[in-house]
Symmetry: C2
Subunit: 256 residues, 2 copies
């Protein structure tokens, strides 16, 4: 396949490298950032163009791997008609392309792309505006990963929300725990086995079943003692929201 890439951030770079490695031809790279764009085109041994209008019509797929907010601007200036136009966003609807291109779709890798990425086992969600584009996207994605899911924009948005919870918010909890411990000079690695065990359990039984701790057993004494240890009012709100919702899920489960 002939692939052109718009963007030179982590997603653009890693997808570009993965597609090249899989044997595809990277036709051109465009980026607003001349430095990172130039660097990426060198890595991909391909041409770098500074204007969207310089992008060649003679390509099979154009990957728009830019920040969500910039996709609209790219679409506005992209004058190609033949190639399949694809964005890589988790939360942007496929309909952003509606009425602007004939063939379009989404290719969303479910991972925070930073540093070198091995796509082979990474889930990639695809969506096309018709059967043919969906099939082309599936084939393209399958050339870099074995883990392809066809998902509508509505479902992908729910997935993106869930991804924020299990990645951004859990990482945030790790950061808060790290800070609590560092103040008292307690090494954070004491918690590694606990953290890993929490994840390992997920694979054999649903998270709801694995829930432990003061909230699920309604241990108000410990909850109140923990709240006393938390100085930051925002963290107290966070602790309370978690505890109340854990309790709510537990009651719901008990009713079933």
């Amino acid at each position: 396949m002939k692939i052109s890439i718009i963007g030179s951030g982590n997603v653009a770079s890693q997808l570009g490298l993965a597609f090249k490695k899989a044997g595809h031809i990277i036709v051109q790279v465009h980026s607003r950032n001349k430095k990172t764009g130039g660097e990426l085109s060198k890595k991909l041994r391909t041409e770098f163009v500074t204007a969207l209008t310089e992008l060649n019509e003679n390509t099979d797929m154009v990957l728009i791997a830019v920040q969500d907010d910039s996709i609209k601007k790219v679409i506005l200036h992209l004058k190609l008609t033949t190639p399949l136009i694809v964005h890589t966003s988790g939360f942007t609807s496929i309909d952003i392309f509606k009425g602007k291109f004939k063939n379009y779709g989404v290719l969303y890798p479910v991972q925070t792309i930073s540093g070198q990425v091995n796509f082979s086992a990474l889930p990639i969600c695809v969506e096309g505006n018709n059967t043919k584009t969906t099939s082309v996207l599936k084939k393209a994605a399958s050339s870099i990963s074995k883990n392809i899911f066809q998902l509508s924009s509505e479902k992908r948005q729910q997935l993106h929300l869930a991804a924020v919870l299990v990645n951004n918010f859990t990482n945030h909890l790790y950061a808060v725990a790290e800070e609590i411990l560092s103040v008292k000079k307690i090494p954070f690695r004491i918690l590694f086995p606990l953290i890993e065990n929490t994840v390992t359990k997920l694979k054999s039984s649903p998270a709801k079943k694995n829930q432990t701790g003061p909230a699920v057993r309604n241990d108000k004494k410990t909850i109140n003692a923990h709240l006393k240890l938390l100085q930051d009012p925002l963290l107290r709100k966070l602790y309370i929201a978690h505890s109340l919702h854990i309790r709510k899920l537990a009651k719901k489960k008990a009713k079933l």
Copy 2:
């Protein structure tokens, strides 16, 4: 060492089995629950006693592995004077024993104990009321794990709070994500690589540095769109508390 065990739940059972395997002699088991207590004493090939007053003075260490709320009751009826008296709670202060026994302490395994546990790499926190008991506790803990930390009650309580965040609350986020996806019939396993990657990163760089997502980049459009997808007011509160505190940490970091 001669060890007696009070309790017959997960912690009592797993610690009892680990100490027996390490070559210690389990002298007696006491539990309010005759069924599970009897079963545990069979597993440990030792005597089961139904009353605390039947516990033998001729033992080196008495492990009180019961729920936090029950420790006080046990202490009230425990009339032993020679052995080292130890509880296994993460949040209960060592001072609960003050004035009641001569030698006492804490042995807290930092893990949710359920099913079979391999203690060998598990962090165990110990605290004794004097140098000698601390040293005995360290030695006992070292016989079942290589990962021993001496921690004061104050520090252990901070650790327990941090453990609730990284275990109970992250597991809760997994449960919420699982529910969001199951409503839309999206397989939860799509998120496994992302979940695992979040944990793997922790080992090479601090969580605060790894923070990604709409909150840290102040992407209000995505935040508001996510909030629209969340029906439950409690979950919306939880989402907002996380996002605000992620933003707060990011600003703090920028100031440094």
